[in-house]
């Protein structure tokens, strides 16, 4: 069997309803952008799961590396003062 060149991979994001973010739902192969949208409609929204679809070529996504997750996210780790619970406010102060 001859191995054919594959259609490029697209990552698919669906907005479930107005007011919500697009959320990643999976991926699929398509020859071009328009086909990616049509396939996404058939594969990921057969039961009214969405009102809007984004299809993004997987090779265009820039991602952080899992190997670097410690140094990348470390700066947030020791900044407890960024959280509201860091500040002691008397219980009887209303609306805080």
């Amino acid at each position: 069997m001859t191995v054919q060149p594959e259609w490029p991979l697209y990552e698919i994001f669906v907005r479930g309803k107005r007011g919500l973010n697009h959320v990643h739902v999976g991926s699929l192969h398509a020859a071009d952008d328009e086909m990616a949208l049509r396939h996404a409609r058939d594969v990921y929204t057969r039961r009214n799961e969405g009102v809007s679809i984004w299809a993004v070529r997987a090779d265009l996504i820039v991602a952080s590396s899992p190997d670097e997750k410690d140094p990348l996210f470390a700066p947030a780790g020791d900044k407890v003062y960024r959280h509201p619970t860091f500040y002691a406010i008397p219980d009887d102060v209303p609306h805080m």
């Binding site: 069997m1 054919q4 060149p5 594959e6 991926s27 192969h29 020859a31 071009d32 594969v43 057969r46």
Partner: protein, 312 residues
């Protein structure tokens, strides 16, 4: 990569598994874990795709427009499930083309159940009730499998399987409220599918060499025998409500265990079907290969069109 860094990555992996957290595509993982997940997800994806054939066989002969629309939707879902799972499998670094080749060349398997023929329209109902019912038993725990993309695909699949099982059961209920001949068709169909449905959970635990490692890694969540027991316990009251007899003389409630006792499927038959000698193995693969070969020009033409750009 130094030995220490390697040990760190392995410890990270073990810790993630221990905390029942998910492993994600770009995480380091032992090669054997990767190979095991690829094998299981590929087999699962192939089962969905081959599973379109036994029921697809009846689309043109559905007894009403309503049944035809339902069956079309169901078979389309199976295609969708195959696609979710192929995508999950590809995140582990295997290509769609490789997976298709391995299915067609027999290097990867699919569920033995799809090597049995569908001889009457009642089989559409029985497959929905028993085969999809068994699939649900298998798949619900897999929503918590340790490999993230597989678990997420299973959540989507499980949401849709419920429709499959219910449409099948409703079809059988409709036939059971029909003529004696229709009731006999249902019973005959259940007689043929009961044992192959029990085989869907795989060999008994004692003969399932991969189970222990797969469970330690959180890829599988329950043993074959536990899932089989659960399926039997679920099916008995459903069979009673339907008015059919499950073809197992040993089937009986065991008060002490709080479960049904039941007979063993014919494991020699199971081994024969898995190794390629089932009633429809050759036909299923030949059909898949023909569809793939005949679609080659479409895949090529779409790529050629895309290469020209959109401003034609």
């Amino acid at each position: 990569m130094t030995a220490t860094a390697n040990a760190d990555r392995e410890a990270d992996f073990e810790r993630t598994i221990e905390h029942h957290d998910r492993i994600e595509p770009r995480d380091w993982m032992p090669e054997k874990y990767r190979a095991t997940v690829i094998r299981q997800v590929a087999q699962h994806a192939h089962s969905e795709i081959i599973g379109m054939q036994p029921e697809g066989n009846w689309i043109t002969r559905a007894p009403s427009l309503r049944r035809k629309a339902i069956l079309l939707a169901k078979v389309q879902d199976e295609a969708g499930h195959g696609l979710y799972l192929y995508s999950a499998c590809e995140t582990l670094g295997v290509s769609r083309g490789e997976l298709t080749d391995k299915l067609i060349s027999g290097k990867q398997k699919y569920s033995s159940i799809f090597n049995y023929p569908t001889l009457s329209y009642a089989d559409v109902g029985t497959i929905g009730w028993l085969v999809d019912g068994a699939a649900i038993c298998n798949q619900v725990p897999l929503c918590r499998t340790s490999y993230g993309p597989y678990g997420r695909a299973m959540i989507r699949v499980c949401k849709e399987e419920s429709f499959h099982q219910r449409q099948g059961y409703e079809l059988l209920m409709t036939m059971m409220s029909g003529t004696d001949e229709q009731r006999a068709m249902v019973q005959e169909s259940v007689d043929r599918f009961w044992w192959p449905a029990l085989m869907m959970f795989g060999p008994p635990d004692a003969d399932s060499p991969n189970t222990a490692q797969s469970m330690a890694w959180g890829i599988k969540r329950d043993t074959n025998d536990d899932l089989r027991q659960k399926f039997v316990d679920m099916s008995v009251p459903q069979a009673e409500a339907l008015g059919v007899t499950l073809p197992d003389p040993e089937l009986a409630w065991n008060e002490e265990r709080g479960h049904h006792d039941f007979g063993q499927p014919d494991w020699d038959e199971f081994a024969a079907v898995v190794s390629g000698s089932g009633p429809c193995n050759a036909q299923r693969i030949a059909h898949r290969k023909r569809a793939h070969d005949e679609g080659a020009w479409v895949r090529e033409a779409a790529l050629a069109f895309a290469a020209k750009g959109t401003d034609l």
